[in-house]
């Protein structure tokens, strides 16, 4: 329990740092560390496949994409953030912490959740047999993403008439 709380605190701290850092590179790296913490939490929750995806895809691939974008936009891309936003953040955070603690417990009893009961089979059976349409949707989403990126980086063809 103590280790879980420490991991969750680490996740919150690095996520907070990701928005508080002025340097975008540091923000992206602290986001990757937060993903690493989340992956370890997934492993400890007996969800190793989700943990592997979180660490390899989110901490790895998405961080690389962020760093690539930051490198491509660095020259004139700096934006002056509102100073008040960072100053007021701890105040709002503590306020939300109190509200969250008070409200969440009573909310949990009212929100309907998945039925309790042991699951049969393996992860592969659940993913490939019960959630087959999820996989079809995933393939569709990947194709949509690839086509969108291709469309956005399309080069203008040279017009010979001009």
């Amino acid at each position: 329990m103590v280790i879980q709380i420490l991991l969750l605190c680490g996740l919150i701290i690095f996520s907070g740092l990701a928005i508080l850092f002025k340097d975008l590179l540091k923000a992206a790296l602290s986001l990757a560390v937060a993903s690493l913490f989340l992956g370890i939490i997934f492993f400890r929750l007996n969800a190793p496949y989700a943990g592997v995806f979180e660490i390899s895809v989110v901490a790895g691939l998405i961080t690389v994409l962020f760093i690539l974008t930051i490198a491509l936009t660095k020259k004139e891309g700096e934006v002056e953030e509102a100073k008040l936003a960072k100053v007021v953040f701890p105040l709002f955070f503590i306020l939300f912490l109190i509200i969250d603690g008070l409200v969440m417990k009573s909310l949990l009893q009212k929100v309907p959740s998945l039925p309790s009961g042991p699951e049969a089979g393996t992860f592969g059976e659940v993913l490939w047999k019960q959630r087959t349409f999820d996989l079809v949707a995933q393939i569709g989403v990947i194709f949509a993403g690839v086509l969108a990126v291709l469309a956005l980086f399309r080069k203008k063809e040279d017009d010979k008439d001009e």
Partner: protein, 102 residues
Amino acid sequence: MSNLWFLYLFFSALLIFIGIYCLLTMRNLIKLFIAVEIISKGVSLAIVATGAVKNSVLLAQSLAITYIVVEVSLVATALALIINIYKKNKSLDVRLLSKLKG
């Protein structure tokens, strides 16, 4: 078990709060997508933790993996858009987007 569920959902709500605060106050487009990432971390934590507490961790894992794939696709498309916006405006300031016409 209920205490454990409370703990995880408490922290996932905090993550979502951090993300929404950043979305509402920051002006840099890359920062805004970092905020979207933080929100999605909160959501996937809530999905897996609820599955683990309710003995449906296999189903929760498959949902989390689907969610991660959607997230990657979203981020790739969004970052490509950001690069194009930067090429056009020479700035990552989100306020400049309000000047778009069309």
